[in-house]
Every structure is written in structure tokens, then in C-alpha cells.
């Protein structure tokens, strides 16, 4: 579905991505984890055309998408959400979602109808006429998901959609993400909430200082000494003894 080939990106003195290669399989939920500043968001930005990589290339759905702008990539069926939510403030929830719907739908009326349908799917149907800026954090995260979903993507990249939510809100959102996968949408997510990563994704990649340091089933990856060290610092790996689950 999505193949990264040797992606590298440097910001001044920071190597945010270093020769990153992997393939995200279709139809599943996969994840990307790593400590703060590891380069996860940067990798999403490289994949979706917001940043140009210094080296490497990206193949999506069988075709290279190098050099394409974000809007062209979205049209091909890959959308991202933002870690820092980006609502169209001052516009209603319905209008926000309709912007996504308009990617495939010209008619205003049909796009608004689609927006209502998607809002119902993510549990925002009771707030359709509310100003997006007035939503709670949890509401805004749902709005990010709804807008992306309204574009009818093949692949969604979620950047920490669970961050800032309390445990009960997280419990509400997990089934939503699975439901999206069950509709046939491939999901690739960045997540800090390890419990969510474990319960959602079958495969995870671990990034540290721009480099892939591990990959595999999340339950195994979190026992990897390199991963524990990346999260908790040197020396911790030995003490933890690979039994504790890492939590960022």
C-alpha cells in the first residue's frame, strides 16, 4: 500500500529522518512509535508531500508520489491528520467536514449530506452546527478524523489522535478506529499511548533520532532492549529487564 525507500531529511543540525525504509501493508492497522522528537511527525510530512525529503522515495498504491504536493496525494487517496489539531475555526463542524467531502463531491448539497453521514460515524452528529473552535479536545480530535474520512481515503495517517484524551475518551475512540479499518481503509498511526498501540495495531515500527531501531508485533517490540533504552535512557534496559511495557 505504502512503501518508503530510504527517506532522509535534515533540518539544520537535526537529522529528523535517516534512511528510513519500510512497507505499510494494505487493509491493516499499523503504527509508528518512538520518543518525542524521534521524527515521527516529520516522516508523515515527508510521506504526504508537506516536506521534500533530502533523499529517498515514496510509493503509494503502486505508483511513486515523489514531488507531488499534499493536495495531489490526498486526491490519490492518502490523507493525514495533524498532531496539533487544525480546525477551520469559525466554521461549523458540518462545514469543516464538508471541505473533506468536497474532494470527491462537487455538489454542495451532496457534500453537506456526506458530512452529516461521516459526523454520525464518528459521533459528532450532535454538534454539527457548533463552531469547530468551541469543541472540546476530544471533539476536535474526532473532527480531524471525520474530515480525513470524508475524503474517502484508501490510507489514513493518524498523528497522535489519542493524545490529550482521558482514558474513557480513548476507550470510545478505539472502536471508531477499528471501524474505519473494517470499512476497508488502511490505517497507519503515530501513537504515544502504548496501550492503544498494543490493542490496535498488528505491526509497529520504532523510530529514534530519525532512525528505525526496531519493528514487529507491538507486544514484542516493547520488550526489545533497544526500544526501552530509547524511551527511558541508557542503563534502564538492563534494570527493567525487558519485562515492563514502555510508556512514553
Amino acid at each position: 500500500m505504502l512503501e518508503l525507500r530510504g527517506l532522509s531529511k535534515r533540518f539544520g543540525g537535526v537529522q529528523a529522518a535517516r534512511d528510513v525504509s519500510f512497507t505499510v501493508p494494505a487493509g491493516r492497522i499499523s503504527s509508528l512509535i518512538g520518543p518525542n522528537g524521534a521524527g515521527k511527525t516529520t516522516l508523515f510530512a515527508l510521506i504526504t508531500g508537506f516536506h521534500r525529503p533530502d533523499a529517498g522515495s515514496v510509493v503509494f498504491d503502486g505508483a511513486p508520489i515523489d514531488g507531488l504536493p499534499p493536495e495531489a496525494i490526498a486526491r490519490r487517496g492518502m490523507v493525514r491528520t495533524f498532531q496539533i489539531v487544525q480546525p477551520f475555526a469559525g466554521q461549523t463542524v458540518r462545514d469543516n467536514i464538508a471541505v473533506g467531502a468536497h474532494l470527491r463531491i462537487r455538489s454542495r448539497r451532496a457534500a453537506l449530506a456526506k458530512a452529516e453521514e461521516v459526523a454520525a460515524a464518528v459521533g459528532l452528529d450532535d454538534r454539527l452546527d457548533m463552531d469547530a473552535a468551541a469543541l472540546t479536545v476530544a471533539g476536535r480530535k474526532r473532527l480531524e478524523v471525520a474530515r480525513a474520512l470524508a475524503t474517502e481515503p484508501k490510507l489514513i495517517l493518524f498523528d497522535e489522535v489519542l493524545a490529550g484524551l482521558n482514558p474513557s475518551e480513548i476507550r470510545d475512540v478505539l472502536p471508531l478506529i477499528r471501524a474505519i479499518r473494517d470499512r476497508g481503509v488502511t490505517i497507519f498511526l503515530i501513537e504515544h499511548v502504548m496501550q492503544a498501540v498494543m490493542s490496535l495495531s498488528e505491526h509497529t515500527w520504532v523510530l529514534n533520532q530519525g532512525e528505525l531501531i526496531a519493528e514487529g508485533a507491538p507486544q514484542e517490540v516493547v520488550r526489545d532492549p533497544h526500544v526501552i533504552e530509547a524511551y527511558l535512557g541508557k542503563g534502564m534496559a538492563a534494570r527493567v529487564g525487558g519485562r515492563e511495557q514502555a510508556h512514553a
Binding site: P69, P70, F82, P87, V99, M130, A148
Partner: protein, 330 residues
């Protein structure tokens, strides 16, 4: 559907003016209000709905005005054809300015400064080439008659500006109810988020500035035929650029009726100033500047925002607000 009804009724009522008003003085005021509303709506399409604040709409206005005048005087082109030429050339200047700025991702004050620079360059150019009459200006020879776009009575001019303004306002309505408009406002409110959802921000902004240039150019064409005289300062000077943005700022940016409210308010203030101070040179710019400061400081959402706030005192709005607060605290 409702704004469309209000729009139709408003323009129908304004359309009664030539039948109801006998005095040329008052009909002229209505004409100048519609003219300012057209100028303001042109700016509003790009600035209000698109969030791209231009300080140089004179570049488009002046191009429309000079086009109809020069083509008429130098080539003998009928001014009705000049009308089309003026609108299209102004749209072309809009597209050119848009290409030069949006291509390079200029936003905010950088965009504003570049538009200002374009208008100034055009002012200096029109001051130096022969076919605009340079600094002396250009005079369109008097030839009264509808065929030469020089009506004997004011009603003829009224219908032209009424039609132009109606077209601009209908376009603003369309922006509020179409995919293009939804994308334009999305770009205004968050360009990155819009692009992530597949909005081609460059194309959308190009379309907005081209439309904006077109309507601004029509205002220029009208001005030229109404007053039959242009010079570089009138056509490309800062006064038009300021008036263009002041009208929607007073009335309410990004709202369909804002430019009409703003034009009426500005016209009233201009007439009052004339009564009180007389026609001192530069006085209108001084008044504009003061108004701009007052509006930005005390009424950033304009008269339309004030209307909404007054409407917001009603029980329905209170309930809505309470519901929103509740949801936020939930």
C-alpha cells in the same frame, strides 16, 4: 436559501431608486454607494472569503478604467466592448499578481506589500507612457447617448452599476454555497489543513484573485465612463486601494452583505465630511484612515458583526450559546 432571498429583495428594492428618486443629487448618492459596494465586494471575494489582504486593488481598478478609456480614445473601440476588455484585462492583472505572489507562497503582510507595489508600479508606468496621457491624464470625449456608454440621464448609469453590483453580489452568494467557496474559506482559515484534505490552495487563490480583479476592473470601467476623466493618481493611486478594503472592513469581511453596509456607511460619512469641512484635498484619505483605525480597534467584525451581536441578544441565540457552553464543559 435565505440569503439569496434577502439578496433578491435588497436589489429589487434598490432597483426602485430611479423610479422613486427624482433628484439627481440623491440618485447620484445611490449610484456612488453601489459603485463603492462593487469595489468592496471585489476586494471581499479575495480578502474576506479568501483571507488574502490586498493593499493594491487599484492595480485592477485602474487597469479596467484605463482599458476602456485608452481603447476608446486611441483605437476608437466602443466603450461597451471596452467594458468587456476592461474587466478581462483587470482579471488578467489579477491572475498575474496572483501568480507572482501565490506561486512563491507569499502570505499576510508580504502579499499585501507586493500588491501595493504592483499598484505603485502601474501608477508610475501610467505616468510615463504616452497613450495614457501620462501625468496630464486622459479625457474621454463627450458623446452623450446609451450607445457610447454616456447616458443622458443618471438612470442609465444607475442600471449599469446596479447590474455590475448584482453580478458581484451574486458571485459572493455563490462563494458561500459552492465547493469553490468552501475550499476558498478553508484555505483562509487553515491552508495546511485545507491542502491535507486535497484542496489545491494555489488554484483556489488564483481563481479568487482573478474574479476579484475582474469585478474591481468593472468598477474602474464604470468610474471612467461616469466621470470621463482619469489620471494616474485617480486610477492607480492609494485612495482606491484603501476604499476597496475599507468598505468590507466597515461592513463585515467575508459576509455577503458587508460590502453593501460598508458602502452605505462610507458614503454617509463622506457626505457628512463634505458638509462639515468642504472638499479639502486629501480629506477623504484622512477620514478613511481614521475610520480604518476605529473599525479595526472597536469593531473588527464590522457592521454585519454588530448586527449579529444585536441579534445575539435574542432568546434563540442565548439558548444556542448556552448549549455550546454546556458542550464545552461536558
Amino acid at each position: 436559501m435565505r440569503p439569496l432571498v434577502v439578496l433578491a429583495v435588497t436589489f429589487a428594492l434598490i432597483g426602485l431608486a430611479p423610479f422613486a428618486i427624482a433628484s439627481d443629487y440623491w440618485l447620484n448618492l445611490v449610484i456612488m454607494t453601489l459603485y463603492a459596494a462593487l469595489l468592496g465586494q471585489a476586494w471581499n471575494i479575495l480578502g474576506g472569503y479568501g483571507g488574502q489582504f490586498s493593499f493594491g486593488h487599484a492595480a485592477f481598478f485602474g487597469t479596467g478604467a484605463y482599458a476602456v478609456a485608452v481603447l476608446q480614445v486611441e483605437l476608437g473601440l466602443n466603450p461597451w466592448l471596452g467594458l468587456a476588455a476592461g474587466g478581462l484585462l483587470a482579471a488578467g492583472v489579477g491572475a498575474f499578481v496572483g501568480f507572482c505572489t501565490f506561486r512563491y507562497g507569499l502570505r499576510g503582510s508580504y502579499f499585501a506589500l507586493v500588491t501595493l507595489a504592483f499598484a505603485e508600479v502601474l501608477r508610475i508606468l501610467s505616468n510615463s507612457v504616452w497613450f495614457t496621457g501620462a501625468g496630464v491624464g486622459i479625457l474621454i470625449p463627450l458623446e452623450r447617448g446609451a450607445a457610447s456608454f454616456q447616458f443622458v440621464d443618471k438612470a442609465g448609469f444607475f442600471w449599469v452599476i446596479w447590474g455590475m453590483a448584482l453580478a458581484a453580489f451574486a458571485t459572493a452568494w455563490w462563494i458561500g454555497h459552492s465547493r469553490f467557496g468552501a475550499q476558498l474559506m478553508a484555505v483562509r482559515d487553515n491552508e495546511d489543513a485545507a491542502r491535507a484534505l486535497g484542496v489545491d490552495a494555489f488554484r483556489v487563490k488564483m481563481a479568487a484573485i482573478t474574479l476579484s480583479g475582474f469585478f474591481s476592473g468593472l468598477a474602474g470601467v464604470f468610474y471612467a465612463q461616469y466621470f470621463l476623466y482619469l489620471d494616474p493618481y485617480i486610477a492607480y493611486g492609494p485612495a482606491i486601494s484603501v476604499e476597496s478594503l475599507l468598505v468590507p472592513i466597515i461592513g463585515g469581511m467575508g459576509t455577503i452583505f458587508g460590502p453593501l453596509l460598508g458602502a452605505a456607511a462610507l458614503q454617509a460619512v463622506a457626505e457628512l465630511t463634505k458638509e462639515v469641512v468642504g472638499e479639502a484635498p486629501g480629506i477623504s484619505l484622512a477620514v478613511y484612515g481614521t475610520l480604518l483605525v476605529v473599525m479595526v480597534l472597536f469593531m473588527p467584525r464590522g457592521l454585519a458583526g454588530l448586527g449579529a451581536r444585536i441579534a445575539g441578544l435574542g432568546p434563540r441565540a442565548r439558548r444556542r450559546r448556552a448549549a455550546r457552553l454546556e458542550a464545552r464543559n461536558a
